[in-house]
């Protein structure tokens, strides 16, 4: 099981590359501008990895998006980010 981090918004073609590179158990952590993908209106873009999407609390807060996430997206803080890297065998960064 790998962790994939993504710092690009849902408009970026990098999202398609990340999704194409993800295995069936892999998790996706949205960071920086990537957290825009946690909004309910964007969830169709993330359908193939639904239930395996995380978003970074600090980056949501700095963009005024806390409390606006889709209920299927799990919000983790920086300690949660560390925990995800512990649990996953390797981390792949998409940017």
């Amino acid at each position: 099981m790998l962790l994939h981090t993504l710092n690009r918004s849902p408009l970026s073609p990098v999202l398609d590359q990340a999704l194409a590179g993800m295995g069936p158990e892999d998790r996706l952590l949205l960071i920086e501008d990537g957290v825009l993908g946690a909004l309910p209106a964007q969830q169709a873009r993330y359908a193939s990895v639904a239930g395996r999407v995380y978003a970074l609390h600090e980056d949501l807060a700095s963009r005024g998006l806390l409390g606006l996430c889709d209920p299927t997206v799990r919000v983790v803080d920086i300690e949660g980010f560390v925990a995800l890297t512990e649990e996953c065998e390797r981390t792949v960064s998409w940017y």
């Binding site: 710092n7 960071i31 920086e32 501008d33 600090e58 980056d59 920086i78 300690e79 980010f81 560390v82 890297t85 512990e86 390797r90 981390t91 960064s93 998409w94 940017y95």
Partner: protein, 130 residues
Amino acid sequence: MRYAILLLDAPYTSQAVHSALRFTRALLAKGHVVDGVFFYHDGVHNAARLAAPPQDEPHLVDAWAELAREHAVPLQVCIAAALRRGLLDEQEAARHGKQGCSVEPPFELTGLGQLVDLGLRCDRLITFGP
């Protein structure tokens, strides 16, 4: 666990440096060992000794140096990426006939082999890109 960080972007450019700093601090707070932060591509600008940001902004170069001092985290800078961007320590400045240097300890100029070594030696390698 043993961690290594790879940072690929310059300070005051994107959020990458802030993300990497916050993540590294969280690792140390949790008791993990950080075997090295490797600065590559535009990330080598993090080692700019002469950086002088406004006083009301975070001093990102000093923030790395502070981490190195307090937690003995090695700060390794790719020498090939650094030289072509004008980032030279005393030894390299002398060798290339330049006055003054732009990199000083705790940052150290090192080869790409060190990144390979970190990847092999550490349990986790986390990349922060632009």
